[in-house]
Symmetry: C2
Subunit: 340 residues, 2 copies
DNA sequence: CTGTTAGCGCTTTCAG
DNA sequence: CTGAAAGCGCTAACAG
């Protein structure tokens, strides 16, 4: 492996000039030619480790994710990686297995490795570990989930509004008796807030009995869904606050051979089939009405914002929260109960 | 950020001794205590960039994958990353979007970045780019797919044998009229070989008309499956050589409301639901009989082998091919045609 | 625009 | 086991 010193000898141009040239600064035409020839002849490649020593830049960023086998993340990270690598950055994947402690430890380990920035989909409810990096001027973008009392850039979706609007739509169609199955993450809570506000704003009341919280580690979404179905005053529409709840609904539907929407109307936040070529689920008609998230865009905006933060390291800035729009797909899974 | 020089001053021990201590070599007890105290007091963290400059080690490895949104890869890479990070290595994710040219380019870019090794699930049919890294003594482990004429460590599964055995089993159950829908990758071809050899070894003949190759970019698996179904001498059993073909079968099944296995028996290589909590598909009874791959193990063995190669850099070795066993899940989707 | 000259922080001989 | 000293390959003042 040849070094810049070899290029210096071969070309007769000093290594500082060579270094400048390699960083795109202008050099004398004669020198440019000599340098280029020497580089080609020696097949010289700059050593990024050595170059990083002085500048303390690794051109690598970390992606801290709870679980890469959750179908939500691959499309996001794929686009993120594409954008970053287009700009010369590598993405170091770190799957912390939904373990908040491991998330914190990994962030520490990786920031010791001098990465230039991070995107994090956090499972923590505390924010010290992130605040500390921010204080050290390490750029971080939160994905999907925010943290209370933390001023940090983020890319999220309109969880609250999208649910509010979709439920309002259902109310217009005559639904008054709602049920919900929801999880315990930030996004679930936002969505449930939208659900409840829509009901309230339309002069209706949500029965707390019919709003069931599911902790995936302990509880089963399908049981919760079935429980709602079996109530004597069963809801006419059940809202599933995320994909796992939606899958629970799907299981009950298949098991009991439910007629949708005659037996019950269903609205799911998220797409059940986010994987390319896994859209077979759409052949089970009618598809569940759903609110779908722009996963690729999340990755793209995260990359753009992170790159901007990295490139302007000492610029003081206000944290930016980019809230992307979801899409409401109304389908036959929601019954029209009124006749206008 | 404090440096080793600060620790030298603070502790009064020379930085060479400190460096040795940090690398686990034994030092005088007195010095050990002084060093440890100084490190704690200064909150010293070794700078991995500087340390890599001399040793030319980055403690990072690359994972070159065709498509991280293909449900096959996340479980593999999750375990791979877990094992590597346990050993102090980072995993740089590189999704080359199923583009063989980009795969080659990315390998070049990343090897210029001095990564310590790679796992690659290649989409190429040529092997020069990999051979060149191997010649430069850069450890590489191939995942899932081999390359002709390339001596390289690899982790694969028993594509040929597993299919051979499963089809033999079906023949015992009375099937004689087989169809297949298969792809154009290394694994598909291996599996089809097993399919054909089993038929031949049992004194039967495979009708070439009933073996349909599907290029996912241009053709549709469901069309191929439907075509087999609509033949006048339609096969009693259709083999789907990978998950995409299996999903095609599932779509036709749902669309036409097929009775399985009365209308046709189905055997799929791969699991349709590899994602946790996406097992709703199992509620569509009977499930397709399938051959399932040990994805987590693939990641584990890849990490172990790669770590071994990295740790013994100058040891000459023979390329090792670890072939993992798949599991045949017989279900009611395969009709028993004979009455013993 | 160019070359000289110090480093960046850590590793690794080498002599003791 | 230890410390002095010489780099690893590149960057960035500085003076010209």
């Amino acid at each position: 492996m040849s070094t810049i010193l070899d290029v210096e000898k071969e070309s007769g141009v000093s290594k500082s000039t060579i270094s400048r040239f390699l960083h795109g600064r202008s050099v004398n035409e004669e020198n440019r030619i000599k340098i280029e020839e020497a580089i080609k002849k020696l097949n010289y490649k700059m050593n990024p480790i050595a170059s990083g020593l002085k500048s303390s830049k690794t051109f690598s960023v970390g992606a801290l994710l709870p679980d890469i086998t959750d179908s939500f993340f691959p499309p996001i990270i794929k686009e993120f990686e594409r954008c970053m690598s287009e700009n010369g950055y590598n993405v170091i994947l770190s799957d912390y297995g939904n373990n908040p402690d491991k998330e914190r430890k990994q962030l520490e380990v990786l920031s010791d490795k001098k990465l230039d920035g991070f995107v994090i989909a956090t499972s923590n409810t505390i924010s010290e570990h992130i605040q500390q990096c921010l204080d050290d001027n390490l750029p971080i973008i939160l994905l999907d989930r925010l943290l209370p009392d933390l001023e940090c850039d983020s890319i999220t979706v309109d969880n609250f509004n999208a649910t509010y609007n979709a439920i309002s739509e259902c109310i217009k169609m005559g639904h008054t008796n709602f049920g919900a199955v929801y999880g315990h993450y930030f996004t679930d809570v936002e969505r449930l807030r939208g659900f409840q506000k829509a009901i309230k704003d339309n002069g209706l009341k949500a029965d707390p009995e019919k709003i069931i919280k599911v902790h995936l580690a302990d509880d089963s979404p399908e049981e919760a869904f079935a429980k709602l179905l079996d109530m004597k005053d069963a809801p006419s529409l059940i809202f599933c606050s995320n994909i796992y709840m939606g899958i629970g609904a799907l299981k009950v539907r298949l098991q009991r051979n439910l007629n949708i929407p005659e037996d019950v109307s269903v609205l799911v936040f998220d797409d059940i089939a986010t994987f390319p070529n896994h859209d077979y689920i759409s052949y089970i008609k009618p598809e569940f009405a759903n609110i779908s998230q722009p996963l690729t865009e999340i990755g793209k905006y995260a990359a753009e914002l992170l790159l901007e933060r990295i490139k302007n390291p000492d610029r003081k800035y206000e944290a930016v929260n980019i809230e992307l729009k979801t899409r409401f797909n109304m389908t036959g899974s929601i019954a029209k109960l009124n006749n206008p």
